[in-house]
């Protein structure tokens, strides 16, 4: 038992951190707001760095890595607030040609419940997609994203995640069966948790540096226990959730160590909670400035909300956990 990063894993984390610092500084992220959150050249850079082909065998041009590693990579992408259908394109690699290499931007949507009783589908990044995947109980379906009759939403919650509303989806071509769909649900939840825990950690750093430099009553606001305790609680949420998310990665790599469904449901729940609560607390620490568009704090909590709704929101995962006790 050795539940910390290996030297190789630390090196991988460092590589992704550098990639994000180089390709996705906050100025770039904010500029993507006018370009639907996805920019082809940057998408290619992610692909070239291997972000979408982590699990593919080396013979297929991938890195042959496990889920412990992909969780670390996605945590860094979350920390840097990198937008786009990262998880879907990663899942699609190996099934949809061009996903792994970044030639195609592949998005997706989960379809739940019986036909006719489905609520309108909210599809992320539709305008930027080359392919749309639909995940349901029966399998994975590939849909021509251009043929989806969807209305763009004028004011998406997350300015970096534009959404369309579609009443129904065109019939697609089945690209994988129910087993793959089930595996995707687990892996998708694990990687989304990793993005969420990255967000949860990023806002701790942001809020702490602000609390050290912002002065009121002739002293840094971080010296006041009322503020300090908010920040300590943020740290606790991020650290506890991170342990759960790393455990989810370890369970995917070695299902023999325990209940993988429980590990992943717990991770998604803890990470979703941590990212949402920390995102709000970060705004609170920033006070009135945190409520302005110009300060980045709102982008984190909005992204957390987007990510909480996919691959099982907090309430659904809590119900799933209850059944597994």
């Amino acid at each position: 038992m050795d539940f910390e990063l290996s030297d190789d894993q630390e090196a991988l984390q460092e590589v992704v951190r550098k990639l994000c610092a180089g390709a996705f500084p906050m100025a770039t992220i904010r500029s993507l707001e006018d370009r639907g959150g996805v920019e082809r050249d940057l998408w290619r850079r992610l692909a070239d760095a291997g972000v979408f082909s982590l699990h593919l065998p080396e013979s297929a041009g991938g890195a042959g890595l496990g889920s412990c590693e992909s969780v670390l990579v996605f945590e860094e992408l979350g920390r840097a607030l990198v937008p786009g259908p990262l998880v879907w394109t990663h899942l699609a690699a190996g099934i949809v040609d061009g996903a792994a290499t970044g030639e195609l931007v592949v998005g997706g949507v989960e379809r739940r419940g019986p036909p006719g009783r489905r609520t309108p589908l909210v599809v992320e990044h539709l305008a930027a997609l080359d392919r749309l995947l639909v995940l349901d109980e029966a399998g994975v379906w590939e849909v021509d994203s251009a043929a989806v009759a969807g209305e763009p939403v004028q004011h998406p919650l997350d300015p970096l995640t534009p959404v369309h509303v579609a009443q129904e989806l065109p019939g697609g071509r089945q690209v994988a069966g129910p087993d793959t769909a089930a595996a995707w649900r687990l892996e998708g939840a694990a990687l989304t948790s990793a993005l969420l825990v990255g967000l949860a950690g990023a806002v701790v750093d942001t809020a702490v540096s602000y609390a050290k430099e912002r002065r009121q009553f002739e002293r840094p606001i971080g010296s006041f226990q009322a503020v300090k305790h908010l920040l300590a609680d943020m740290l606790v949420r991020a650290e506890v959730a991170r342990a759960a998310v790393y455990a989810a990665g370890a369970h995917l790599d070695d299902p023999g160590i325990g209940d993988v469904h429980r590990a992943i449901a717990g991770a998604k729940l803890m990470a979703g909670d941590a990212a949402l609560a920390n995102g709000k607390a970060c705004i609170q620490v920033h006070g009135g400035m945190g409520f302005t568009w110009e300060v980045d704090a709102h982008l984190y909590v909005k992204r957390a909300r987007v990510l909480d709704t996919i691959f099982g929101p907090v309430d659904a995962q809590a119900e799933a956990m209850a059944e597994l006790i």
């Binding site: 455990a247 370890a250 449901a265």
Partner: protein, 395 residues
Amino acid sequence: MNLRYSESEERFRGELREWLDRVLPTVGPPPAIDDWPGRRAYDTAWQRMLFEAGFAGISWPKELGGRGASPAEQLVFLEETERAHAPYVGVNFVGLLHAGPTLIAEATSEQRSRYLSPILRGDEVWCQGFSEPGAGSDLAALRTRAVRDGDDYVVSGQKIWTSHAEVADFCELLVRTDPDAPKHRGISWLIMPMDSSGLEVRPLRTIYGSSEFSEMFLDEVRIPVANRVGAENDGWRVAMVTFSFERGTALVSELLQTMELLESLVEIARSTGTEGARPWDDAGIRRELGHLAADLDALWSLTKRNVTQASRTGVPGVGGSVFKLHYSEVRHRLGDLALRILGRASLSFDDVGGARSGDQVHGWVHAISLSIAAGTSQIQRNILGERVLGLPRER
């Protein structure tokens, strides 16, 4: 990042499991919660059994009579003893987990050879005399005074929250030896025999209704200078050596116990209810139960990260404060939810209507102590804010 136990860790598990299966049937049920002589006899007898089987002082170094187990093996030990419902460390807590490790780190070889082995054998029980009525969260403000008189210190003052004082043989005592020095620099760490004259122990009744700890009144108690551990006036540092430990692994067996408490609560929620409605049929209640399970699982994963860090660096990290803070909060939520599920069965510490409701009611009270004992949640937040996040101190 690997959660799988190694072959040698699994071998250790097998050996321990085999021994537990063999000896536990010979161990009777624990005595009543307020039967202190009975509890001492029960807990020390179990400690003696562990000692004879080579499982005492699992983390203590081999050359001092311990097992020298790795942190991962310590986790295996806690997992297996909890799984088998073996007795808890009980009255041996201070000796094994606090005073003992302090002596290992700071005592002279004479002191170690006098005191360590009787702790491992279950022959001697220790208690802790740190807090005072005027020195709680601000422990370094303690005022119990020790004045040198020849080969003795003459000690007067008052201590509080001393667990197991009625049945202890020795007390790890913090005293003020230099009232003129800055508060952290005038403290010394002494070993006080509990049969010293001038020492009076008065049990304190807690909100359980029983006596979990005592007050100690010291009136010119003579303690030999030879009983001082570490240098005179260096007692604060000596005490801090093992403080982070108290906040770290000490709660691990409790965490495993809490997972069982949650399972038991799920059983109650599924099987009881008034007027035909089971609490389990309420989606809100189910979600809260599921949420608690996720929190407990995450704390267990965090424990494994903490343990790995401890074995890589040799010292417990800040993970202990993170753990304690979140664990206390989870226990509060679990306790509150349990009482709502129990309804009016929560009006009794004893089981009501055939359900194991008493454990849940005790758990609710226990949560209240968890966010206070060994550093309140507010103090833990200060520690995290100042020592981990680097925020400036208040004032």
